[in-house]
Symmetry: C2
Subunit: 190 residues, 2 copies
C-alpha cells in the first residue's frame, strides 16, 4: 500500500482519531464514514491507504505502541520486563486496557479483525518477546526447557486483562511490576 | 426475595434460557422482555424473583457452576486444581469463555452488572479459592508469605481469557491443566 501521500504527522493524527473513535463507540459502531468525517479525509483515501477497517484499526493500535519488545535489552530478564512496563504510564495503561476489553469482545463477531490483530499486533509482539526471552535463556537465567516459557504472553496479557474483574481496580504500573516479580519470574525459575 | 413459586426445574430452565439469550445477543441487547418471551413468564415475575437484570444474569451464571471451589479437597493443591478443572468438559469451557468475553466488555458500560458479578460470582469463588489455598498453606505445600498467593485468581482467569488471542485456539482442559502445572504451581513454589 502506497502511503507516500500522507506525512508522518498526518498519519499519527489519523491513528489517534481512530483510537479515540474506537474508545468512544467501540469497534462495531466504528465506520469508515465516521473515521472519514472525524479526520476530514475521504473514504477512498482510507481504503487506498489501509485496505480495510480491521487493518486500519490494528495499524492504529500498533502505531500507538512504543517500539518493539525485542529492542529492550537491559542485561537481565527482570530489568527487561521492568523497562517494558515503564514505557507506559498508568493513564496510558488504563486506556490500553479499555481498548483491549472492547476488542476482545469484537474479535468474536469479526474474524477479519482477529486475523488482523494476530498478524499485525500479536505476532510481532510475540516475536519481540521471544527475542527478549531467548536472550534470558542464552544468559543462563532461564532453563531452555522451562515449561512456563511458552506461557509468558498468557501471563502478561492475563494480568493486564483481569485486574478490574478480580480486584475492582484498574491496571497500573505498580500492579504489573509486582505481578512480574511475584508470578512471571518465579514461574520461569528466575 | 421469595422464590417459593418456582420449582427448581423451572428455575433451572429459566437460567438456561437466560444464558442462551446472553450468548445469542449479548448483555446489552438482552432485555427482560426478551427473557419473559423466551421463558413464557411475565416480566413482573422476573422482577419479583430477581429484582433486576444484572442480578438475574449473574444468578443464572452462578447456577451454571458445578459446586463451590472450597468443597474440592483431594489432599494436594495439584489434585485440587486438577479436580476443579475436570468438572467442566471442553464444550462447557468454550461456552463459559464466550460468556466471559461478552460480559468483560459489558461490565464496562454497566457498573451494576460489575457489582452483581463481583458480589454474586467473583467473591464467592474467591472465598472458595481462599479455602483451597489456605489448606495448601496449612499442609505446608505453599509458604504463607508466597507473593503469588494473591494472584492465583488473576492467573486462573487470565489463562482462561487469553488463549484465543495468543494461540488462536479455544481454551480446553488440556491447556488449563498444563498451565496449572507450568505456571501456577511453580509460581507458588509447589
Amino acid at each position: 500500500m502506497a502511503r507516500t501521500r500522507l506525512t508522518p504527522e498526518r498519519e499519527s493524527e489519523l491513528y489517534a482519531a481512530v483510537l479515540d473513535l474506537l474508545r468512544e463507540v467501540g469497534y462495531d459502531a466504528l465506520t469508515m464514514d465516521a473515521v472519514a468525517t472525524r479526520t476530514h479525509s475521504s473514504k477512498a483515501t482510507l481504503y487506498r491507504q489501509w485496505g480495510s477497517k480491521p487493518a486500519l484499526v490494528v495499524t492504529a493500535l500498533r502505531h500507538n505502541k512504543p517500539g518493539t519488545l525485542g529492542d529492550v535489552d537491559t542485561g537481565s530478564l527482570r530489568g527487561d520486563f521492568h523497562a517494558v512496563l515503564s514505557r507506559s504510564d498508568d493513564c496510558q495503561m488504563e486506556k490500553d486496557a479499555a481498548l483491549m476489553r472492547g476488542l476482545s469482545h469484537a474479535v468474536h463477531n469479526n474474524p477479519d479483525l482477529l486475523q488482523a490483530l494476530r498478524e499485525l499486533l500479536v505476532e510481532p509482539e510475540m516475536t519481540g518477546l521471544d527475542t527478549l526471552l531467548r536472550r534470558a535463556v542464552d544468559r543462563g537465567e532461564v532453563s531452555p526447557d522451562n515449561p512456563a516459557l511458552r506461557y509468558v504472553p498468557h501471563m502478561l496479557i492475563g494480568a493486564f486483562a483481569t485486574r478490574q474483574l478480580v480486584e475492582d481496580r484498574p491496571v497500573d504500573q505498580a500492579f504489573l511490576l509486582d505481578y512480574v516479580d511475584s508470578v512471571i519470574l518465579p514461574a520461569l525459575g528466575v
